[in-house]
Symmetry: C2
Subunit: 387 residues, 2 copies
């Protein structure tokens, strides 16, 4: 298997971007990544997007976006795994370079979520759940994650304040990120007293609806060394993907995420590393409870101790193991198909030492964890500074 | 790059399958392919599907279907490239095995199209065209392909009867295929006098709306040899993918398909073969004009001579180069996300010498061509009997 590195990163504007369409946002991110890499051609393109059909009535994004970029002719593949679409787009691009089918791949993710009403948006996102076993009965994602939160509180004594501290930490990080959708700091009181969405979760426990795109340029490592321009080479050391029962009701335990554990084990094995080797992580905090369960599932703390990771300061910038230095989905925003790619953009920026005020000092190994639904699909990547 | 072979094939029921859902049809095909391979486990799953969000309100098919198959845990990736989704699912699975990320991959395609009204179905399929430059102005695929037909007739003198002969030939082939949706033979007169859809195309120039799924099992060639059970080993010798301008109006010429030509060149180069080496082909005859333009674009005949390929008998069973021995999309049916996988199922069956009444004698090299939209995305695979 050939070695693969990340040689370019880019983000579009993120937020409620009323004046740009899906294709415009995507092109902003793609051009930024190509500029960053110093390239004007690629061998292949992957596009992670959850449901452009339901959001903007457009499928066939591979061909559409290659054309929009002036690259008609280049092979282009859209991949989907609900909110893990971006992470899977990175894996599919990695496989093409690793196999030798391509030397340079533009890996992208995009979602345009604000062109529909709130109800339509909720319905589109619900397509990530089981239509027959969950959606038919009225389940939505805030409700499903609220059940996970209740179960975690009952089993491990996780508190309402600990949930809130995840949001407080991630907003503090996001306030340092010029790309974040919400750059204001918030307090535990703000979170607890905000409008309730699904008990115990309030609106400030939930990641927002976001328009945005993210892009990476992958290259075979020999090609990457020629393009480095003195910057550190960021290598994709480990790739792990896994699934789980899709309906929450089908799982043995609401307080664990087996697909995240399995994906992490696969990625760590491939990278010949373990949780103790990780200096920072970008994880899928679609709701505050998600970050708590995910850090446990990744092995970054013991089972049941997820709740105190943010409240103790361990996972804050300046702590032992910063989690979501970008602000995470909660503060940076969550254009669902773009999120997994944006996580790798942040880790690459950190490993290059170019993250400015939110820089994690001495970061040489980082992890991304991106999941779909209530964790039924998960992708984990381990990135490291190549020696 | 590791060598990859096809060790199992399977199809679900195809047609208007009122009594089965997407997941049921998919599972029928997946289990058939696993039975054929003699396996009960795989390392990874890919799912080609165009727009399950618009057809049945369900995304996240990777996790959903891995779970349905009792394989929760296994990595599963949905890919989409409009009607080329199945072909791209094969390419993505190929890359995983070729790279060494997996030894055995279940490659699948599925579409459940008859759970919506005719108008909703037309709208869902139109999501493969450019929403801003085509669909907004009322363009639908029969209309777009009708323009290609008119242009081909004007430029090359292709006749109405030659268009009809493609349908006549493919129905004759499909009548020999127990899996085909329409197994009755038709005449040139039937085609020309059928209900008009978009001048010059009638309903019998158009592939039908179909529910169905198809599956393949890919394996690293060493693994494949152990599973062969005395059957010929079918190797994936070449993989080519390409895109084109998505909107028909953006193209320089309505009578050619540059993405098909480019994809074929890439696949032939990888396989170290050319058009003259091909013994049979399954191509994307979504409309009769499509087969005519495609055989030209693949280099299987000279430009302008596509029209006389079916009418002369050259591409019929018993002719020099049988095209669509399965009956093609026209007679076998066209569950859009499944079609590219089903094409490889047919070629594999032919190369094994197991195609019964529609067997192409002495077939050792076959080609599949699967395209999305009006040809804006295309995937070509070259399959051969491994020595």
């Amino acid at each position: 298997m050939r070695d693969v590195a990340i040689v370019g990163v880019g983000l579009s504007r993120w937020g409620e971007v009323w004046d740009a369409s899906l294709r415009t946002l995507w092109t902003e991110a793609a051009l930024a990544a190509l500029d960053d890499a110093g390239l004007d051609r690629v061998d292949s393109i992957t596009v992670g997007s959850m449901t452009p059909g339901l959001f903007v009535g457009q499928e066939h994004l591979g061909a559409l976006l290659a054309d929009e970029l002036g690259m008609a002719g280049v092979p282009a593949t859209r991949v989907e795994s609900a909110c893990a679409s971006g992470g899977v787009a990175l894996k599919v691009g990695f496989a093409e370079v690793a196999a030798g089918l391509a030397d340079i791949v533009l890996v992208t993710g995009v979602e345009k979520m604000t062109d529909v009403s709130g109800d339509e948006c909720t319905a589109a996102l619900a397509a990530a759940a089981d239509a027959e076993l969950e959606v038919f009965y009225g389940a939505t994602f805030p409700g499903l994650y609220a059940m996970m939160a209740r179960a975690h509180m009952a089993r491990w004594g996780t508190t309402r304040e600990q949930l809130a501290m995840v949001a407080v930490k991630n907003h503090r990080h996001g306030a340092l990120n010029p790309h974040a959708q919400y750059r204001q700091e918030i307090t535990v009181k703000d979170v607890i007293e905000a409008a309730k969405v699904a008990e115990p979760l309030t609106i400030l426990d939930c990641s927002p609806i976001t328009d945005g795109a993210a892009a990476l340029v992958l290259a075979e490592i020999g090609v990457a060394r020629k393009l480095a321009k003195g910057r550190p080479i960021v290598r994709v050391a480990g790739v792990g993907q896994a699934t789980d029962r899709i309906a929450l009701q089908s799982r043995a335990d609401l307080t664990t995420l087996p697909a995240t554990t399995l994906a992490a084990q696969r990625a760590f094995k491939m990278a010949d590393k373990g949780p103790a080797d990780v200096h920072l992580a970008e994880v899928h905090d679609c709701f505050t409870i998600a970050e708590i369960v995910v850090v446990e599932a990744l092995g970054l703390c013991k089972p049941g101790e997820g709740g105190c990771q943010a409240s103790s300061g361990r996972t804050a910038l300046g702590g032992e193991l910063p989690v979501n230095p970008s602000g995470g989905l909660k503060s940076k925003g969550h254009p669902v198909g773009a999120t997994g790619v944006a996580q790798a953009v942040e880790i690459t920026t950190q490993l290059r030492g170019a993250a400015g005020k939110r820089q994690v000092k001495g970061a040489r190994v980082g992890l991304t964890q991106n999941m779909g639904g209530t964790g039924a699909s998960t992708v984990v990547h381990i990135l490291e500074v190549a020696s």
